[in-house]
């Protein structure tokens, strides 16, 4: 087995960064997320390969929170537009957990399938290599296995790092994985090591049949009950590795401007606010319900799998204690539909 010793991680990052923009889990000041190794500052940043996960998923690497689409020039009544095509350099995300790899899979489905290929997304995705980090020790709020994710074998990873005593087994999965491995071959050691067993999950949910049952639970009182403490902020949507909804807006100064897309949140009232004043999801409960139905019923109906990877971030960070597990449990336990 090829093994990467913990002490050589920084060398690997340096090497990979020669040919790609490499993102690694870090604590940067007060923030925890995937940051570019090029911007690493040892006085300020702390590599976090050894913790369960970081708060901000790597979503913005494939779907930037703000992305310019085209510039606009107006001259009297004349107007011209020019698509803004950002130059895409190869990127590597290293140390991604299975839940977040699956998150990228779902973004792929949204932006690359069903008769539509998003050029900008595809360009980034094609040049992305995913070096995942297998998870043997699920956290307090983890339930990825319940959502059909294997914590130790993320399907679309190009390489899987498997933590062992003193380092990581370097498990190459794809051609892209081979390519990055070639660059660091001399930093790996051939060694026989024993893998850790997967510890059992502390949280279990049974999602089977939930999507079907939800069809009859649109008017269920649970929505009122569970949404009551919700503050309708955007934490859950912005920290979710799968929430992909976006807005398209314009910025202009006089006759110049550009149109951009940016993440949006279904928890915001403005999300469905129509120009004439009508809003089909005016109430917090309605927005709350739509968020969970999208994840647990609507997305599965369209794409076949639930839009939740069991990463637990929304549970950990919700100021009001809203818990998707509890919602799934409640649906599961419901006698019949409505």
């Amino acid at each position: 087995m090829k093994v990467l010793k913990t002490g050589k991680i920084e060398q690997v990052l340096d090497r990979l960064a020669q040919q790609a923009d490499v993102y690694a889990p870090m604590l940067r000041g007060q923030q925890s997320g995937f940051f570019s190794w090029r911007s690493y500052d040892e006085d300020y940043d702390d590599l976090m390969f050894d913790i369960l996960n970081v708060y901000q998923p790597p979503k913005d690497i494939v779907l930037p929170q703000t992305e310019k689409m085209y510039s606009i020039h107006q001259d009297g009544q004349d107007v011209t537009i020019e698509p803004i095509v950002a130059e895409v350099e190869p990127k590597i995300i290293m140390g991604v957990r299975s839940c977040d790899v699956r998150g990228i899979d779902y973004l792929d489905e949204v932006f690359l399938t069903k008769g539509y290929v998003d050029d900008a997304y595809k360009a980034r995705r094609d040049k992305l290599t995913i070096i995942a980090s297998a998870c043997y020790n699920p956290g307090t709020n983890c339930f990825c296995d319940s959502m059909g994710v294997s914590p130790t074998d993320p399907e679309s990873a190009d390489v899987i790092m498997r933590e062992v005593t003193g380092g990581y087994v370097w498990d190459v999965k794809t051609e892209k994985g081979e390519a990055v491995t070639k660059q660091i071959e001399d930093l790996l050691e051939e060694q026989e090591v024993e893998l850790f067993p997967l510890k059992s999950f502390l949280r279990k949910v049974d999602y089977s049949g939930v999507a079907e049952k939800l069809k009859d639970m649109f008017e269920d009182p649970m929505w009122e009950k569970y949404s009551e403490p919700c503050q309708t902020c955007g934490i859950c949507t912005y920290l979710c590795p799968t929430c992909y909804c976006f807005d398209i807006q314009v910025k202009n100064w006089g006759d110049e401007g550009y149109r951009f897309r940016c993440w949006d949140s279904c928890m915001y009232r403005e999300y469905t606010q129509m120009a004439g004043g009508h809003n089909p999801r005016e109430a917090a409960t309605e927005r709350f319900r739509n968020r969970f139905l999208h994840k647990l019923q609507f997305f599965p109906e369209r794409y076949g799998r639930p839009l939740c990877t069991g990463c637990g971030r929304c549970i950990v960070t919700c100021p009001a204690g809203v818990n998707i597990i509890k919602i799934i449990d409640t649906v599961k336990e419901a006698e019949t539909g409505a």
């Binding site: 007060q30 970081v54 902020c233 993440w263 950990v316």
Partner: protein, 301 residues
């Protein structure tokens, strides 16, 4: 702190006598350290109410959801939360008559979010007893400033952190350094608006950031729009922030928002003070920057 028994008794009495239509308090979440907002509307629901060492969530903001109704509402408030109620009363967002305020003398509380985070595997430091919430270490008023009924013995002021120490350090920076400091701090904002949503002083019906005709602040998460967001919010907080610390507590990217609020508190106090927002409710009294007088100094114009 554990006033669960007392609060349940009061809630039962108020609901039984039909003195109120609902009681705003807390209930336990899924984990032992989770205590989350809860509204009891029937006597049966009272048994879910708790008031324990994790009852940190400032409920006063939740009153806003009922501001257009007629319901009579009992609300449980700690010292800081009660200042939030004063905020709403001063801002004419809620009539005093519709409220039955159950005050609890607060010895300081713990932060379930912090406990959750330390217990989640997302932090390097794990499973430590996190002690009192950071906002409690700056608490000026552990005892409710307005109430109809008080639970618990009046609490002495805790030994305070130097309230403005960090502010003074930042004031000593050069303008460039200071700008850089705030730019670094604000650039990480993801614009989830959690700070606004939990803030009791953010009680505008249509927030300027949601306004689309015209759109005052762009939706890009880059420094310009982020700065606009935080600067506008800050200027709206001047003289109005009751220092409950909820904004900073809920921020998912840990922006030290109370630095901004404390700077404003310090300045408002310096210019117009002595003044502490929401320390007592006097009908008709307004925060210094919420009134206009003919003889206001205007030499800066």
């Amino acid at each position: 702190m554990n006033y669960t028994k007392e609060i349940r008794e009061i809630a039962t009495r108020l609901l039984e006598n039909e003195q109120v239509d609902m009681v705003m308090a807390w209930e336990k979440g899924d984990l032992e350290y989770q205590t989350v907002p809860f509204i009891a509307r029937t006597v049966d629901e009272v048994s879910r109410i708790v008031c324990d060492e994790y009852s940190i969530h400032n409920l006063s903001n939740s009153l806003l959801r009922f501001r257009d109704g007629q319901e009579k509402i009992a609300i449980v408030v700690k010292g800081c939360d009660s200042r939030g109620v004063v905020r709403l009363l001063e801002d004419n967002q809620f009539p005093r008559e519709r409220l039955y305020i159950i005050g609890v003398a607060c010895p300081g509380v713990k932060d379930p979010l912090l406990a959750m985070k330390q217990n989640s595997g997302f932090e390097k430091v794990q499973d430590q007893d996190e002690g009192l919430a950071s906002k409690c270490r700056y608490c000026l008023q552990p005892n409710p400033v307005i109430y109809d009924e008080l639970v618990g013995e009046e609490q002495p002021l805790a030994e305070l952190q130097e309230r403005f120490a960090r502010i003074e350090e930042i004031e000593q920076m050069s303008a460039d350094e200071r700008y850089q400091f705030f730019e670094d701090m604000i650039s990480t904002c993801i614009r989830c608006y959690a700070c606004r949503q939990v803030c009791v002083a953010c009680n505008c019906r249509t927030c300027i950031f949601d306004e689309t005709r015209p759109q005052w602040v762009g939706r890009e998460t880059k420094i310009g729009d982020n700065m606009m967001y935080h600067l506008i919010r800050a200027s709206h907080m001047a003289g109005r922030c009751v220092e409950c610390g909820e904004c900073e507590r809920v921020c998912p990217v840990n922006i030290p928002l109370m630095l901004i609020n404390r700077k404003l508190i310090k300045d408002v106090n310096g210019f117009f003070g002595p003044y502490e927002a929401g320390m007592e409710y006097v009908e008709g009294r307004k925060p210094p920057l919420s009134v206009y007088k003919e003889n206001d100094p205007d030499d800066f114009l």
